[in-house]
């Protein structure tokens, strides 16, 4: 069964005003997200194409649980899908403005004065996304300060933040209309679905010219994506079908599988312990698409303690 567009459809059907706001912001985000190319011209795609894929994975993972999600939660999730990487394309002015307000960035730059601005942005982009959303909140016209905060936290939550922190991610955030937003669940979803967008279609063929890549790190990254032919959400697992014919990147692929498995295990644990939801999928499985043999089993318990 396909859950394509389920979240968006429910939002449109049950909360048309929130959906209108979502639609307007989708249009707005087209130009916001493309700006990452100013700092990362050869980087993996971080435009709204990535957001669409994140939402598609959210739809698959939420599945039948959609009946338990209220429209405010859906709105927060969809907006975070679009805005979680907005920090990748901030202006130099915003970079200096935001950095001055972030002790961790100040400390990092003091300890690493030679580090390029683009690298600082890459390391802290989840936090810059939060700052960006907060600074430009009038553009997005969110329904309330609580919606704003929920979207900021969920967007920041796509990497590094502590999803077990009660202050940052309270299990239940009560809105004025009585609806509850389950921030740990939404943030874990964004973190996991962001990681799952690793297949070949992450970088749509005609958008990129591989001959333009000069840095080894970019060549490896693109070749890894090309090798991962498909990511599918099945009934009880997430399956990666991988072409291992490029031996030069095999080691890097398995490093990424390990990282994905760790993230998956962590997100399942957060969802299990800090929300009323349960993911159907319990593990990552990697298959060789030539032999159809499983080459990377992963148990949710293996990487987490």
């Amino acid at each position: 069964m396909s859950f394509d567009f389920a979240l968006e459809t429910k939002l449109m059907t049950e909360a048309p005003q929130l959906h209108k706001l979502f639609s307007d912001n989708v249009l707005c985000c087209q130009n916001i997200l493309i700006k990452y190319k100013s700092f990362f011209p050869t980087f993996t795609d971080h435009t709204s194409l990535h957001s669409l894929e994140v939402i598609a994975f959210c739809n698959e993972l939420v599945g039948f649980m959609i009946d338990k999600l209220n429209c405010d939660e859906i709105f927060v999730l969809l907006m975070a899908a679009y805005l979680h990487d907005s920090g990748m394309g901030i202006s130099i002015g915003d970079f200096e403005d935001f950095s001055a307000q972030m002790p961790m960035v100040i400390a990092y730059r003091n300890e690493n004065p030679e580090t390029d601005i683009s690298e600082v942005i890459r390391i802290f982009h989840h936090e810059f996304s939060g700052m960006f959303i907060k600074k430009y909140r009038m553009i997005f016209d969110f329904p309330s300060e609580k919606h704003l905060w929920a979207i900021i936290q969920t967007s920041r939550g796509h990497r590094k933040t502590d999803l077990y922190d009660d202050a940052e991610y309270p299990p239940e955030l009560m809105l004025d209309n009585g609806n509850v937003i389950h921030l740990p669940f939404l943030s874990a979803l964004i973190r996991l679905t962001d990681e799952l967008d690793v297949a070949a279609d992450r970088n749509i063929q005609f958008m990129f010219d591989l001959r333009s890549l000069k840095r080894q790190i970019d060549i490896i990254a693109f070749n890894k994506h090309i090798s991962i032919r498909e990511v599918s959400c099945l009934e009880d697992s997430v399956r990666l079908s991988v072409d291992f014919s490029n031996e030069a990147i095999r080691q890097y692929l398995f490093e990424d599988f390990e990282k994905l498995a760790r993230t998956f295990a962590q997100c399942i644990d957060v969802i299990d312990k800090r929300s009323p939801f349960k993911l159907r999928q319990k593990r990552i499985e990697v298959y060789d698409c030539q032999s159809d043999e499983m080459v990377f089993p992963s148990d949710a318990g293996t990487f987490f303690h």
Partner: protein, 96 residues
């Protein structure tokens, strides 16, 4: 799914019949890549398109970005039009 391409000057008309989803999109991607050079505008003829998934939308959006908005959609049925509306893409594409 069946795809037909017709190029006139720098305008590419892509007629898609059937369903555009994750299993059929790769074929469209390859064809677009082969024909993107010297193309300044794309018209997607969707008169016989039954359904478009998020994978199909991504390719459309990528085309839109690649050609700086010179993408037109013709003949989308109500199911496809609803999907554009549901995903917030209706305001982006020129849908006829």
């Amino acid at each position: 799914m069946e795809i037909k391409l017709q190029k006139e000057n720098q305008k590419l008309t892509v007629t898609v019949c059937g369903r555009l989803n994750s299993s059929t999109v790769p074929e469209l991607e390859v064809l677009l890549k082969e024909n993107m050079e010297d193309t300044k505008e794309i018209v997607f003829d969707f008169h016989n398109l039954e359904y478009i998934s998020s994978a199909g939308l991504r390719v459309l959006l990528a085309s839109y970005k690649k050609l700086a908005g010179k993408v037109k959609i013709l003949g989308a049925n109500s199911t496809v039009t609803d999907i554009f509306k549901i995903t917030g893409m209706a305001a982006i594409f020129d849908v006829d």
